[in-house]
Amino acid sequence: MHPKDCVRVRPAWLDLKSVLIFGIVAFLLLFTVFPMLYLVFRTFVGDAGFTWEAFARIYTYDLNWTALSNTLVTALLAMVFGVLIAFPLAWLVGRTNLYGRRFFRTLFLMTYMVPPYVGAMAWLRLLNPRVGTLNLWLMDVLGLAEAPFNIYSISGLVWVLTCFYYPYAFITISRAMENMDPSLEEAARISGASPFKTLMTVTLPIMLPSIVAAALLVFISAASCYGIPSIIGAPGQIDTVTTRIIDYVYVGSAEGLSDATSLAVSLMFLANLVLWASTFLCGKKQYFTVSGKSTRPNMVDLGRWRLPLTLLVVLFAVVVIVLPFVTVALTSITQNLGKPLGLDNFTGRFWTILVTRKGILDTATNSLIAASVAATAGMVIACVMAWLLTRTRAKGRRIPDFLITLGSSTPSVVIALGLIMTMSGRFGINIYNTLTIMIIAYMVKYQLMGMRTVVSAMTQIHPSLEEAAQISGAVWTRCFWDVTLPLIAPSVVAGWFLIFMPSFYELTMSTLLYSVNTKTIGYELYTYQTYHSQQTASAIATAILLLVIVVNYLLFRLTKGRFSL
């Protein structure tokens, strides 16, 4: 028989690649696109067709206008300050001979994994206008009659948002800086430009697209944040769009839901606009030059500024990282929050509560299950997507990529609200009040992080490695299993944790999606913080922080420093 006769011609739709893409697209359409579209539909389509009515109604309330302007102002300021902090920091840590630059790099990257509400809790303790520790200390030292800072204010909100979102900018900018060919800077130096002039005329312009992308990321993260404004804003009567949405949902009436939907649609449009702007601005200018040589970046000698600048970075780290974390840890062992911590005011009670109270253990278990399942399912999709994107020319492979990006750039409240509206029986699917709906929400929101990690690892593996396996007789699934997977394994583990960690301590979506039996640890912490006991909340937060540190350390060891979170 002629060998040609052995080849069976299969219809295109049976091709595995198409099936995989179809499956992923179907999943994303159902749980990302459909809920979002439904929210828009609910907002703009009434009984008599298209109408602005619902949309117009929510903006007749001053409260909502204020919330919108609060959101925009705080997010914008956090964005500006975040980039102003992140760029010099990324440069100092990545391009100069700053003392302990490696340590600082790890430190700043690590804060990325800390839940933002932990920062809110800490700064609440530090800058409370009456009893804030830092306020009292400053009054004492400077002899002030009244507290210099009030956390319950717009500027307080901006401060905490900046402290917890600048790492987003730091990561983006320092990655781009590390990818830049150092000889571009050397060429400027040899042309006669001073280090500063080089920074301004070469480094900064080349980095500009990444800086813009970083800025937009900080903006949209700050604007979609619920944890910080709900903890700081509520006592200070400062509403943001996210807190208004959740308040409306809690009202529970049909009108409340409808108002929440309209607000969510505003936030969603804002987020999509930013996503579009970011891809439009940065997609055009891909500056990253792949250098043939010079892997060792040229370090700028800070000269006599080396020590002063290092001290400045230390001060920054102490104020922004050490101080809040220590505060939260100390709060968890303080008996009476009105008095300073001492031997007579010390207690281990709240840590006992942490490991014994059923409510906490149950919610922690729920979070553990939901986050693990989300991370595992997410990584399976991530691996398939990475393979489709980097190794095949399959038609439509960019569609899931786009949908995943869309999902993750959608504010959490919007995702959760969309899922509530569509997945509680109205369209034949009822997963409301189950862990499943949480898992899906987490996947929609955090999938991208995991996927990007695997994609970038795959890009670095030369296709010839797989081709060598193929030519040795392995079919593509076997190639993947024998060659690709072992090579990308560290990234897969890292990606798993990148989905797991934020899902584990998630607050915003959980607040909307929980039921009596599916409360999560994030929500439990929030309830303790706001209603029962700040100390218990602090004990939970400290435990989460320790978990973040341990996971980070493991990842660092596992991937030999290539990945920390």
Partner: protein, 357 residues
């Protein structure tokens, strides 16, 4: 005058020495190539001259000025030199014109004069119509020219080139060799050129410095380097050689098989006899050394031939030689042949053992 001198320059990275006690004067308007395998310290040397690396000890001066010494260090931007990088380093956010005019802008050259100078350079570089193009719209060869143009724009008299041709294809590499040499003559530049490619070194240089493990092996003109290499390493790096062990006695060289040839040189005792492929003739009837033809590859103008020559009872050495055109087509592998030669090099075997790997 733009001569460059390096005195007792060494560079250590921790415990590893990459350049050891380097001494050399690069003359005004001279084209000198630093040639050596990767890791020989040539790029480090160039970067020390540019000011991107500080020597661990020793001093470097450009013209009369000490740019790097025990007490002083001049930053790269103040050295007034041009440099072409291996990766071109053409700034992606500036167009061709802006790239080339950058050094002039930094020196605050007035706009009209700047434009004139850049136009001039672009004209010379064959980029006259490309001023407004962005780097990503240029081919590799064009980017290379932009990088060269930028290095020339400031009219500095010293030009450093770090493997500038290694990312180009073979044809382009050849034509760029001529262009670089042309520029050097036209602008009267002192050029220091780093490469691992001996053809580039031979084609352009007034002098070549052959480096190995951070140490100078030989400094000479390309023809001397080829004719009279200082050691087996240089002989093998600049051109090709085959080495045969032998004994030198008064008046002749004796091979292990007993064959001998007349010798008038000074060396005595164990020696290595090195022969270049083009100096060996293949004969069927008689010659100096007997061997067995093992491979012959027809390459068009020549045929590349390998002959196994016994050097002891158990060992053979493969001697390579080139035969004109298809002259060995008739000889099948396995045939016994004779090697005949009268041009060869003699190296002391013990001295070589301390240098060669």
């Amino acid at each position: 005058m733009s001569s460059i001198s390096l005195a007792h320059v060494s560079k250590w990275y921790g415990q590893v020495c990459v350049v050891e006690d380097f001494n050399c004067v690069f003359q005004h308007q001279e084209f000198v190539t630093l040639l050596g395998p990767s890791g020989c310290g040539k790029t480090t040397l160039l970067r020390m001259i540019a000011g991107f690396e500080k020597p661990s000890s020793g001093s470097i001066s450009i013209g009369e000025r000490i740019v790097s010494g025990p007490k002083s260090f001049v930053a790269p931007e103040e050295r007034g030199i041009g440099m072409v990088f291996q990766s071109y380093a053409v700034w992606p956010h500036m167009n061709v014109f802006e790239n080339v005019s950058y050094p002039l802008k930094i020196r605050r050259v007035e706009a009209a004069a700047r434009a004139k100078r850049v136009e001039e350079i672009l004209e010379v570089m064959g980029l006259a119509d490309f001023g407004q193009r962005m780097p990503n719209e240029l081919s590799g060869g064009q980017q290379q020219r932009v990088a060269l143009g930028r290095a020339l724009a400031s009219s500095s008299q010293v030009l450093l080139l770090d493997e500038p041709l290694s990312n180009l294809d073979a044809k382009l590499r050849e034509s760029m060799r001529f262009e670089i040499k042309e520029m050097q003559k036209r602008f009267g530049l002192t050029v220091i050129y780093v490469t691992h490619d001996q053809t580039e070194a031979m084609a352009m240089s007034d002098r070549v410095i052959v480096l190995k493990d951070g140490r100078i092996q030989q400094v000479d003109s390309p023809s001397t380097l080829y004719r009279a290499p200082a050691n087996v390493f240089v002989a093998g790096f600049v051109g090709k050689i085959s080495c045969l062990p032998a004994q030198a006695v008064a008046g002749k060289i004796v091979f292990s098989g007993g064959q001998s040839l007349a010798y008038t040189g000074e060396k005595r005792g164990s020696v290595l006899l090195a022969i270049r492929p083009e100096n060996i003739r293949l004969r069927l009837d008689q010659g100096i050394l007997p061997g067995v033809l093992t491979h012959a590859q027809y390459l068009g103008d020549i045929t590349d031939v390998r002959v196994a020559v016994p050097v002891s009872d158990s060992e053979t050495t493969h001697v390579r030689l080139t035969a004109p055109g298809r002259s060995v087509d008739q000889i099948a592998p396995g045939t016994s042949v004779w090697l005949d030669f009268d041009d060869y090099l003699i190296f002391d075997r013990e001295e070589e053992a301390s240098i060669t790997i």
